[in-house]
Assembly symmetry: C2
Homo-oligomer: 120 residues x 2
Amino acid sequence: MTDPEPFEPRFDTAGLVAAIAQDSVTGRVLMLAWMDGEALAATRETGFAHFHSRSRGTLWKKGETSGNLLKIDNIQVDCDQDAVLLLVTPTGPACHTGATSCFYRKLGEKGLARVDSDEK
Amino acid sequence: MTDPEPFEPRFDTAGLVAAIAQDSVTGRVLMLAWMDGEALAATRETGFAHFHSRSRGTLWKKGETSGNLLKIDNIQVDCDQDAVLLLVTPTGPACHTGATSCFYRKLGEKGLARVDSDEK
């Protein structure tokens, strides 16, 4: 066992790190959003994903309006600490379109087509 | 069947979209990097992940030096087209540290600890 390393998130010039949400059970990547220090702290304190809305410039509890929360099971941090991976249990569709994942379309030669609902 | 929707990536002010690489078989999220139009085009043309190096300001074929390429199986695009999800078959560890995934540490109360190698 080695001692834990310090968590020193490397925020970008806008004060943000990228945050990927992945379903703990299915492994499906649900969404990508952004966190500042406030969103990270709120996520760790409450156990539910909070992000920073770049358009509104405010803290955003994911699902506060829709009820589709993301319960945090585990937070992982990448090698250079400028991205985090949230392993989550979603209480509903993660996408505002009603899709399970925001990544509900795949890129083909002719454009974007819907992926099968059970496709990773 | 509906017609494909156009692929119109929404590049940020730096001309980039976020790109998540996920192992097609294990479902493990491997890394997060950035793509400009050139990296997207090179990825689609060659079938191997290319990114834009923000530090060097250049096109970067993932694994060109290390040999640890990411073969593209599928590219998915999120609802607002500012992030892409690459489903890939890696030819080796994705992280420059030698770890399978750049997300090899989890956040605990005391800091960062390594995750088990088989943990998503």
